[in-house]
Symmetry: C2
Subunit: 337 residues, 2 copies
DNA sequence: CTGAAAGCGCTTACAG
DNA sequence: CTGAAAGCGCTTACAG
């Protein structure tokens, strides 16, 4: 690899002049300029990015992260995506500083935010609680980009959101239901809570798809809540089966394990679609106890957040959209290899 | 950000000594060492990666790539994955040098390899033809890692392969067939060629899954070749429908468009699973003319190849396995958002 | 055990 | 229009 100094020597001039030509800053004798350009070309000159970064004072970056991941397998996957993606970039000064917390307590999340911010990060990524206090705290952080991950809240200064398109998740689950029930049938839905927007959007997406087509009728015969809890889920699902006789049950939130157990106990030919890619579901899937998982791919959410911030902080490229949805992935028994 | 010089000043010593302590090269008065460590810690010292890379003489890398992508939508997707993934790394001296060629002509591929190698790349990625000449040419390139992409050939000096697990693709398609035909039924298969390993592996994977379970019988009633050609596919599919009366057809190679048209014309309720994620298939999918696409995700193949080489060339990390399979992705109508 | 100096490859004033 | 010099933050001999 030829250097600026070598070019200067070959051209019988100085580094300053070579630099001027290479960056066409003008003020150079055209003849010398041509000589320099020819030499550079012939030797396939490329500037040394490290020297450039050094003299330009390129910053190292640390991304502050607040994640409600403690004891939550879903967010542990998000975390894996974050760590593995950022690992690649570490060599050139791109790091992460994660504060993991457990559950949802506003005071604790506020404390975590403050701790992370105190370390002076180049950006903040967070799974924010949707409360006034958090909203206020975040909206004051106007000097760095803020990325919400998996959970979203309104924020004027939001840089990006990375997470699930819940309506689409519901629609894809609807696709599966139609595949399984080509002649129509009854569907029961077990949701987490009617108060949670994402759950409702899933239901809506699902109904939209199964409802619209042809002469085939798929009826949603009942929707019950389980509060994301396995015991509740078990009870609610039993009741749903007894009273509504569904041909298929769509579990559009957590607490799937209890629900699936209720279905297995009932020993009827009831098909199941779930949203959680957690170990017990994988087991159920490969045994044929459930038919499909439609998962929001937590690993990718973590990795994509890192890519978005790297692209911006290092390459100066903003994401095309604020909303960045990861694919709703369809997992069948042999998707797991 | 504090620097080595500042630490030296604060500690009342020299840069050399600070360097020694920070890299524990020994030979430093323990008292001074402690002082230095304390200052570094207190000021959260991190070495400047650019200065380090400069003095260490970190190499810039160009990955030579030979791709049979001209006029091939599939490989254009691979190309997109390659370009976008490598774009991110360009800033720190990681580049690609692609030679695109059309079709499969050994001489031309040899020429492309030589051209790319002449530019002295740090690695070579290629969609190799499985011929003696190519094999010989590649096996002589022992000084750089070679990654085969999408197509694989035996090679002692192969660094990695990135591509499709064909058997798994067949198994996942089998999963879908079982979802669609819960009570069993007849399946016809349209393959490219009995001489192509990947196609045969798909068929085998498919049969393995639909054949093994319960009392439900899914019979593969016929397998026909279409030589990846739409016209052949149309004719062969018509014949298949007429003679074998399948409930479902599995297109496990290219030339799907002609085949699907034959099915539509037949106007029977025949379900379809295909492997090609190309624009006409997306249209068919959203119209309900076909039920699912099981695609090998060409974009990811390109991107993953770059990640593998970046990880090795820049971070010195070898891939865990030589065989790197991308996920066989299930696309249903609403997967496309 | 320690420090002064040179050098990695570039850019940036500055003087002429 | 041009060149000499300083400096970015680190590492590497070298001399003591």
């Amino acid at each position: 690899m030829i250097t600026i100094k070598q070019i200067a020597d070959l051209a019988g001039t100085s580094r300053g002049t070579v630099d001027r030509v290479l960056h066409n800053r003008g003020s150079v004798n055209p003849e010398i300029a041509k000589r320099i350009l020819d030499i550079a070309e012939a030797n396939n000159y490329r500037s040394n990015p490290f020297a450039k970064a050094l003299v330009k004072g390129d910053k190292r970056h640390v991304v502050g992260i607040v994640l409600n991941s403690v004891g939550n397998p879903f967010f542990e996957e998000v975390l894996r995506g974050i760590t593995e993606a950022s690992e690649k970039y570490r060599k050139y000064g791109f790091e992460i500083n994660i504060k993991e917390i457990k559950g949802y307590n506003e005071e604790e999340q506020l404390k975590a935010i403050r701790a992370v911010i105190a370390a002076n990060p180049s950006a903040l990524a967070i799974t924010p609680m949707n409360t006034k206090g958090i909203s206020k705290e975040l909206s004051e952080l106007t000097s760095i980009p803020i990325v919400t991950i998996n959970q979203d809240i309104p924020l004027k200064n939001k840089f990006a959101f990375v997470g699930c398109d819940y309506s689409n998740s519901g629609r894809v689950s609807g696709d599966i239901a139609k595949l399984i029930l080509p002649k129509g049938g009854n569907v029961g839905i077990v949701t987490g809570s009617f108060k949670i927007l994402g759950h409702n959007e899933r239901i809506q997406g699902f109904e939209e798809v199964v409802g619209t087509k042809d002469g085939v009728k798929i009826n949603v015969v009942g929707v019950v809540e389980n509060n994301d809890d396995d015991i509740n889920s078990y009870t609610a699902t039993r009741k749903l089966i007894r009273e509504k006789k569904p041909d298929l049950i769509y579990f559009c939130a957590a607490g799937t394990e209890g629900g699936v157990k209720a279905v297995i106990e009932a020993a009827k030919d009831i098909k199941i679609v779930v949203v959680d890619d957690i170990p017990p579901m994988r087991t159920f899937l490969s045994r044929g106890s459930i038919q499909a998982i439609v998962t929001q791919h937590p690993y990718n959410q973590g990795a994509e957040m890192i890519e978005i911030l790297y692209d911006f902080l290092v390459n100066g490229k903003k994401p095309k959209k604020v909303q960045n949805f990861t694919e709703n992935r369809v997992m069948l028994p042999h998707s797991i290899s």
